[in-house]
């Protein structure tokens, strides 16, 4: 047992924390939130230069990390600073899908991703699929030598910035079969693809994607026809580890802000942190935070396990983080009083990041059900 970060990861954590505390101030971030693209090209280039994107890929893939603990090291820091740039979409989801299924020319794109020059988006969820990964109604039909896509994709994060959409579509099986799902690399601007973009409540942007007779060459397929589910589940597992770590980082910041405020805000002639009613609740947050950190460690440490155990650990982590996250977000706001209700105060953004995590790749209840099912198996 060793609960310390390796020297490399410790360095990554230190550099990233320093970079973000210098460059990603509340004011800067609030400007990014209001901007048209919902992200900063400078910050993205800066993160690439620091090697943050490369840390999310293995050496074989051209990076220098790629393991569960690399993901958690990066995403805890992104979460602490409330970063809204699409690291999850481009590097974790997009990058992992390319790495898992791509042929040589497709995986060559990873170099561009690591360099910061290419964004990706995973267009998978559909208007009524909710969190089910297996539920894909979008169709892919072979027509001549080409492939034709028809369907709708919902809340596709980072779709507008992406050089390629990685679109899932069904080439066989029933609407909720795992078998029969394929992935396609769809270059931005392909005819028949319509994006309706919008900002997200907790920062960043997404789009509703309509695919209307989208014609692609057969070479656009990632991997074998109908066999993408395993890679999708793998990339989403990594994304869930990232989301859990991001929420943990945000919870750390929420708790630190609360601690500072409890010690300085004066009411009734003394710091409000001197009221035991608040002290105990603050202590509960710290207790939950330790539990949350352990859950993230469990998930990251099992990311390379056989699928069933991997997914059971991840479901456990996301369920615990979902519960602890809601508690931390709500209690931090409550213990601040009115000030936490204002948009320009850091906690407002941080609390939104925490709560909105629970709407991506499964909420607290979804992961509870997954955990029950996987534990019974």
């Amino acid at each position: 047992m060793d609960f310390n970060l390796t020297e490399e990861r410790q360095m990554l954590q230190d550099t990233l924390r320093r970079y973000l505390s210098d460059k990603y101030t509340t004011a800067t971030r609030n400007t990014i939130l209001e901007s048209e693209t919902g992200m900063s090209a400078d910050i993205w280039a800066g993160l690439a230069e620091l090697g943050v994107i490369g840390a999310l890929f293995t050496e074989e893939e051209g990076g220098f990390g790629g393991a569960g603990f690399d993901i958690t090291t990066v995403f805890e820091e992104l979460g602490r600073a409330g970063v809204v740039e699409p690291m999850l979409e481009t590097a974790v989801l997009g990058g992992r899908l390319l790495a898992a299924l791509g042929n040589d020319s497709q995986t060559a794109l990873i170099e561009e991703v690591i360099g910061g020059g290419l964004h990706l988006a995973f267009a998978h969820g559909e208007p009524t699929s909710r969190y089910d990964l297996n539920r894909v109604a979008t169709e892919a039909k072979v027509s001549g030598g080409d492939i034709v896509l028809n369907g709708r994709k919902a809340v596709v994060a980072n779709a507008e910035a992406a050089g390629y959409l990685i679109v899932s579509a069904r080439e066989g099986g029933a609407v909720d079969d795992e078998a029969g799902i394929s992935l396609f690399l769809v270059p931005a601007g392909t005819s028949g693809v319509t994006l309706r973009g919008y900002p997200l409540f907790a920062g960043g942007r997404a789009a509703e994607v309509t695919l209307d007779e989208v014609r692609l060459p057969a070479s656009a397929r990632l991997g074998a026809a109908g066999a993408a589910y395993g890679a999708i589940a793998g990339a989403v597992a990594a994304a869930n580890v990232a989301l859990a770590a991001e929420a943990l980082g945000a919870m750390v910041t929420a708790t630190e802000l609360t601690r500072g405020y409890l010690m300085t805000r004066q009411q009734f002639g003394r710091p409000i942190g001197s009221f035991q009613a608040l002290q105990h609740r603050f202590s509960d947050l710290l207790i939950e935070l330790e539990q949350a950190r352990s859950a993230v460690i469990n998930a990251a440490g099992h990311l390379s396990d056989p699928v069933a155990e991997r997914d059971r650990q991840i479901a456990a982590a996301r369920n615990l983080i979902g519960r602890a996250g809601r508690l931390v977000a709500e209690e931090a706001i409550q213990m601040h009083g009115g000030i936490a209700m204002t948009q320009e105060y850091e906690l407002a953004h941080i609390a939104k990041r925490i709560v909105m995590t629970d709407h991506r790749f499964g909420d607290t209840d979804y992961h509870l059900e997954r955990f029950i099912a996987l534990s019974a198996a």
Binding site: F201, Q267, Q334, G338, H359, T364, L368
Partner: protein, 396 residues
């Protein structure tokens, strides 16, 4: 014990229902249902419609043009109005200031201000809180110094809800800094147009400009705008707060919220089946519904105990704590119910000329969840309420 409504009460409910069906403009209820922001004109329109029927001032005595409803009637109206997606009645003039004026104001103030509140001539806002005086309201510093027949006011109020619409503000000001805090406070009525007043919006975390900061720089206020006696303002302020806390349970809002939640859960799909059939979600909904059923009866028990016109005591603190927890829980579940469609930012999702993003009910839900965190903070935070309960019950 009899849990049923009397025939007269049932008839009253029918009357309210018919009124809402006939008189509540669809344009307003659509806005409320979809969570769109209500403008000043919207609220004024609804106030005017209610006033036309004599129902705007539910708790005012008839002699002042009120409906003089008893607690059960008020409860029935609140339930039906919430169910019909009627706009909320803005309480600052009607249920905060007016009771204070009726009890402590002089004849001239009653004659002048009360009809103007009913007619919508004045929009009042509440100038209690300051940056340094939140829960510890009595520590307020905004200073009013008597000079001849005027007070000169300097200082700052904050969190002033809908102050951007208001032409009047009732303020707690410090008139004597040399005595015990509570004994040096006065209750002053101030015209927002007076030179030296500046209103700055505060954007809340859901992006709405709901509250404001109000700055006072040598603002001249006629001495006749003092309510009651100088330095007795704390008594009036506390009287007002007990009125602020009636309907604090928000049972009507919770019931309407729960109904909306069920409608959504019937059409949202989870694992290929309606969400309402998902056992975990169904269990969460059931628990909050069970709490709400008991809350509705607790609320009725407490309000029917309090003699008409008299505000309930420590029980209103209990209603506030539990009522806000229930409302916030319903907001949480409704946000969860829509899955990934809780993620889009609402003002985009609501942009009038576009189709909604995702199902039309989804857009405002995250914003409402976050906005309603205020329920346990304002009107005396839930911690302050718990402190009051313990103090009263243990004589501390």
């Amino acid at each position: 014990m009899d849990l049923s409504y009397s025939p007269a009460e049932q008839a009253f409910r029918e009357e309210v229902r018919a009124f809402l069906r006939d008189e509540l403009p669809a344009a307003l209820s659509d806005k409320v249902r979809s969570g769109a922001e209500l403008g000043k004109a919207d609220i004024e329109q609804w106030h005017a419609i209610l006033n036309g029927r004599g129902w705007l001032a539910a708790n005012w005595p008839k002699e002042y043009g009120g409906a003089e409803w008893n607690a059960v009637q008020r409860h029935i109206f609140e339930e039906e109005a919430a169910q019909a997606n009627a706009p909320r009645i803005v309480p600052f003039g009607l249920s905060m200031l007016a009771p204070v004026l009726m009890k402590f104001g002089n004849q001239a103030q009653k004659d002048y201000y009360l009809p103007r509140i009913l007619n919508g001539d004045d929009w009042w806002c509440q100038g209690y809180s300051e940056p340094g005086a939140g829960s510890d309201l009595a520590s307020l510093k905004t200073r009013a110094v008597r000079e001849g027949d005027h007070y000169i006011v300097n200082g700052q109020k904050t969190w002033t809800t809908l102050g951007q619409h208001a032409n009047k503000i009732f303020c707690l000001v410090r008139t004597n800094p040399d005595v015990k805090q509570q004994e040096g406070i006065s209750f002053l009525l101030i015209d927002m147009d007076t030179p030296g007043i500046e209103v700055r919006p505060i954007i809340l975390l859901d992006g709405t400009p709901e509250v404001n900061e109000v700055f006072f720089d040598n603002v001249k206020v006629p001495a006749e705008n003092l309510v009651g006696e100088e330095n007795k303002g704390w008594t009036y302020a506390k009287y007002l707060l007990t009125h602020e806390r009636t309907n604090i349970a928000g049972v009507g809002f919770s019931q309407a919220g729960l109904d909306a939640l069920k409608r959504i859960a019937r059409v949202e799909m989870s694992g290929g089946r309606p969400l309402i059939e998902n056992p975990h979600f169904a269990a969460r909904m059931a628990k909050v519904e069970i709490d709400l059923m008991a809350m509705a009866t607790t609320n009725l028990r407490i309000i029917s105990q309090a003699a008409s016109g008299q505000a309930p005591g420590v029980e209103s603190s209990m209603l506030k704590v539990k009522g806000t927890i229930i409302r916030q829980e319903i907001n949480d579940l409704t946000r969860r119910a829509v899955g990934p469609y809780a993620l889009p930012f609402p003002s985009e999702a609501l942009a009038g000329n576009n189709d909604p993003i995702g199902p039309d009910y989804a857009a405002p839900l995250s914003a409402e969840y976050f906005n309603n965190r205020k329920l346990s903070i304002f009107g005396g935070s839930n911690e302050i309420q718990r402190g009051i309960i313990a103090k009263v019950k243990m004589g501390g």
